[in-house]
Symmetry: C2
Subunit: 256 residues, 2 copies
């Protein structure tokens, strides 16, 4: 689990299909580039400059070029990137050429919303099964899918190849669900429950915690308030500034 690739050691010559071992920070931004590219394609653009794509994705152009260069990029100097080609490249790297199946566990408040979210379908994912521990919820149909009892997980997973598990249960149930998902062979989990999961090595967990996001904003809010209270210089920037434009910075400075 430790080592991090000496600069020129592995995969000598030859055209290895795709596993360029990208930096995590780059991986995290590729989906945003992809979304921006799709928008550009929809509005008829055939090529973009790094500057153009960077703006659309909310980053600066140097970062974008560095990121794309990691995938052995397909840009043309003096021109820019071919939109369609780049979409293809990124989708291939992200493993989105096949549609991935998602199992969603916990159809409470949030789970319900996720089950009905069409953003998944349009971006390479298919919700393949819904589960809940509450017998009262089992049998309910959401968006054309019937909610099953969580104990059926292994049986259902045997029928369909589940690529990713999503946990939207209360915190106290989350670890048990994670264990079950792992037992069934799931190696990628998206966790919405406010708790830390322990999983065996080789299983990836990403966590989304709504309250944490708010608390981080709260900190900045708090800090801005403290700052305007003391020094004589500032204080003007706070007055309403409609027609909001400008400021490319904030998002990258903060969005981790």
């Amino acid at each position: 689990m430790s080592q991090h690739r000496h600069p020129g050691a592995p995969g000598r010559a030859g055209a290895v299909p795709t596993l360029p071992d990208l930096p995590e920070a780059t991986v995290a931004r590729l989906p945003e580039y992809l979304r921006a590219l799709h928008n550009l394609a929809d509005s008829g653009h055939e090529t973009v400059s790094s500057e153009g794509l960077a703006n659309a994705a909310g980053v600066n152009s140097a970062k974008l070029r560095k990121d794309l260069s990691h995938l052995g990029s397909y840009g043309t100097r003096g021109v820019g990137y071919d939109v369609a080609l780049l979409i293809e490249q990124i989708e291939s790297v992200l493993g989105l050429t096949q549609c991935r199946s998602v199992a969603l566990v916990g159809v409470g408040n949030l789970g319900h919303a996720l089950a009905g979210y069409d953003g998944f379908a349009t971006r390479g994912f298919r919700i393949a099964a819904l589960f809940d521990a509450d017998p009262a919820r089992v049998g309910e149909e959401i968006n054309g899918l019937v909610v099953r009892h969580v104990d059926e997980l292994s049986r259902v997973a045997a029928e369909q190849l589940i690529s990713i598990g999503v946990i939207a249960t209360p915190a106290r149930a989350a670890q048990a669900v994670a264990d079950q998902l792992v037992a069934v062979g799931v190696t990628s989990i998206l966790n919405f429950a406010p708790c830390v999961l322990s999983v065996p090595e080789g299983v990836d967990v990403r966590k989304v915690d709504l309250a944490i996001e708010l608390q981080i904003l709260s900190f900045h809010e708090h800090r801005k308030a403290s700052l305007t209270a003391l020094p004589g210089t500032a204080g003007s920037a706070l007055t309403a500034l409609p027609g909001g434009l400008a400021a490319t910075d904030t998002q990258e400075a903060i969005g981790t």
Copy 2:
């Protein structure tokens, strides 16, 4: 925005209230520590070691100690940290001593779920108002709050001091909503719409994009698959490993 506190330069003596100018990465972890601390407090612990708290929060102890040291930490060598005291400290730094009001715009699928999410209330936030652009949705009552038309935003914001705006609209509406929030004086926005917002300097935006999270997992899934396909060594770790324990690493390696 640059400097990093010369040991004795500013705010000389005296107890400056709180603006220790923490590293962003630390700020992003404090809420997790806070949650872990509340759990510990609930189960009767009065003190924790850095090791114990680190485990509960899913990080390593060195990182935790460094983080806490930034807030001029209140630990006792040979003993650990006083749970109650640390909770107080962190809440104060995060600006959670006052309950912050949140305005939620867009009560579709996701917005509905957010409006009903009790995790907010229990962690320092109060949903103060709901808005939507769809007249069919205006007037609906969710969790004791009536949905208002988004054009009423400025009027409602005048009555209540809104600390944070949450955008849960479709992407095409998000920028306009952001502009309206900014115009009303909101300087912190949590954006669930899959698009980049431009906002004036001084306004913080955090973005949560469900599909992006899945796409990042997809990448790792894809990579794991490529790896097990080629080399002769691995391949065993993939077989079901129930009773999932161990593996503290994965989460920090991945959760940015």
